[in-house]
Amino acid sequence: MSSASHSSAAPTADSTRLSFIVGLVLLGFLGLIPILSVAFEDPFLLTLFTRIVIMAIAAVSLNLILGYGGMVSFGHAAYIGVGGYTVGILAFHGVHAAWIQWPLAVLISGIVAALIGLLSLRTKGIFFIMITLALSQLVYYLGNGAFAYGGDDGLNIMKRSDFGGLLNLDNRPTFYYLCWVILLATVFFVHRTVNSRFGMVLQGAKSNDRRMATIGFPVHRYQLTAFVLAGMICGLAGVLTATFTGFISPAMMHWSRSGDLIVMVVLGGMGSLFGPVFGTVAFLLLEEVLSSWTEYWKIVFGPLLVLVVLFARGGIDGAMVRGQAGTLLAGCAAFFLLYGIHTAYEDEWLIPTLILVAACALVWVAKWAVDRKKAASHD
């Protein structure tokens, strides 16, 4: 089903432009958040969106290898941990200068990514998924065993990174804009990278690495380079996470965090420029709204994820590219309808959940009926 729908709806110039424009608008909107936060006197808005912007950086970096390179890394959260721990450990020993902390964190993330990449790129397919998972678990347990730095309890960072009077990171809007600029830079970097010769080889290797090797490209080296670049960018996201929360712990690199990152990328649309940004915003907003309805929000989110995987392969970006504005609108409408019902019923989680489950069941039955009809017409 997936391959058919992809090939039947080749992206036209106009529809890709739609998702491009929406992406730019979204990035611009993200730039307005501190102002909105002041206007609505809602400091939580800024907190939420700082988290979103930081995770978006990590998701964009994962998309470089997952979406464009076809390397399903199930251990990307490890670099968030490495970046965060570098900052935390340096701060613990009294080194607060950002000029030392940040480049060093990126460098070490790059080295760890190079080591993990060297080992895991020897394998393919499911084994690649498993070995990246295993190696990130190794890093996770390293954090757990680092008793000098809090072990599994984690470590508080008492003082934020110091940019020597240039930037005051304790000022929340300043920090937000720093993250935002880094996100813009990352998106721009990925855009330039995938459209360069390097990116073409990477994408060529995704669809057929043997062919690329036969043409004469050292595919392995290209993939490793991309893997290290992604690790370094994600390490920077880890630096921002640690600076933002003022706390590091192994939990930030738990394997389920890596799963979350993959979900963000796939939800938004793999291998598209703005897909991971869409995905991160959708994921974290959905988490926020659903968890305000019910502490059991994952009971809705889990099946939603299954449905996205089963029926909406291209994610949000794919829906835009295929011109399925109707699907997107229906999705948004359903979301707000549920939100309305929920507010009407106050803290009643059961009703929205039941409606959602019923809607899912309906979609499933409809899909099943269509498939059956298709199968019958083939016979």
Partner: protein, 305 residues
Amino acid sequence: MLLIFEQFLNGLQIGLLLFLLAAGLTLVFGIMDMVNLAHGSLYMMGAYFAAVFTEWTGSFFLGAALALPAGALLGIAVEVIALRTLYTRDHLDQVLATFGLILFFNELARLMFGAGGMTIQTPDWLQGQIMVLPGLPYPSYRFLIILVGLLCAAFLYVLVQRTRLGMLIRAGASNREMVGALGVNIKQLFTLVFGLGSALAALAGLMAGPVTTVQIGMGDNILILALVVIVIGGIGSLPGAFIAALAIGIIDTMGRAFLPNILGSFLSPSEASTLATALSSMLIYILMAAVLVLRPAGLFPAPGR
């Protein structure tokens, strides 16, 4: 020496639990080429079912006897509703969708059984100790786990090597299309194997229940270990899973038991135990990475893969 033997038994016990979980995982993986992260959730649900049924009937064995078919039915329901469509998809889709299922089941368990966790009460006669060797008492319940684990391994061996169903399972693992082409109802076989795997996962969960507490997310970490087991043992290979599971159980237990003493000579006790736990966990992943690099198909790959 006795201490080493006792820790060896502990390792064997954890290894056999891992094997019960990994057996279903490797069969599903081998035959259907399907990564099922939700297998850990079936393990957890099995433990919860056992806890609830034990409380309800007042007998651990009745509870277990009810929990097993419940686990199998749940697995079959999951297969029919969600996973069947995923067989033809790539591994990324399978990982994602089953990751969604983990989220779902963890919350479902929290909703149905509460966040506090449950304990499973074993009968009195299982709470004592027995002498496995002269001078070596061993908790009888843990000994029972070893017995059941070994029995299950033997049962699986006979099932896979000596029965018609096992023949189909082996054939399916080495060439799925050919089995289908020869007129076997492969869909039914998949569901059956999935149900069997789920029952084994539920069994592992309910056996582990009285030792650990039954809690949310208990399946998540052991699932990763089970994935390590099947990758080391070779995907689709039951003997491989058996050996790898025992090796990992023993490495993990020995590491946890003896590393603190070794490290304790130059670290404080609490530091040593933190580091030892982390090190013995790391050892497992280092083993897996080494196997993947040196023998990417695993130590005992199923024939034809």
